[in-house]
Assembly symmetry: C2
């Protein structure tokens, strides 16, 4: 189950697009369908590595999509169906969003199976 929630990523460096947004109350069904379709479509893009997403009951959500390169993110941005869905997002689904593009330089994971006493990773 957890493996569906977390992106399985290679060692850094790679890139991340952090999309923070707050939803309107409008069109939950249309939004949900489009969000699922965008993830399906992203998975087929060159350079796509993985995606993680969470949204709370307050309507605020963060989606982190991971890519091999900045160019892969740019290409995804130019994808016609993605662009059309972004326009629908601005027209009604979102009150506000912020997008940050960043280069991942270090990464560290932990699982309960590792035990609580494990020494923290070097920062």
């Amino acid at each position: 189950m957890d493996s569906d929630m977390f992106a399985a990523l290679p060692s850094p460096p790679y890139y991340v697009a952090i999309f923070s947004s707050v939803r309107t109350d409008a069109d939950a069904t249309g939004y949900g369908e489009a969000a699922a379709r965008m993830i399906e479509l992203a998975r087929g893009q060159p350079g796509f590595l993985g995606v993680e997403s969470a949204r709370g009951d307050d309507g605020f959500g963060i989606t982190a999509s991971y890519w091999e390169s900045e160019e892969a993110i740019r290409a995804w941005r130019r994808h016609a169906e993605h662009a059309a869905v972004r326009e629908r997002g601005r027209a009604g689904w979102y009150r506000h969003f912020e997008l940050r593009i960043a280069r991942v330089e270090r990464a560290y994971g932990w699982d309960a199976g590792d035990g609580p006493g494990r020494t923290d990773a070097p920062a």
Copy 2:
């Protein structure tokens, strides 16, 4: 209301710590208190810029904390109370987590007040 959800950040570059986690069902009260305390404590750290956080009903959450420099993230990691809370997290609050440290290179925001027809930002 939205302004409490989004971090007000300077122009890039700056750094982000992306913490993705899935909670256990244990100790919701203790976890909530500790999470609020960690945000309060982070706000007082040198180089702290802001934080955004979302967790869904499935227990999966993403917290993105923003910092002026990698050194500021390292210093926060060394903070004694933060280290003690991380240990509690590994002992019972989390099933799994991933931490990625990244350098934000570009950023773009949009608000419903901007209107749906606004041209997308240059990638």
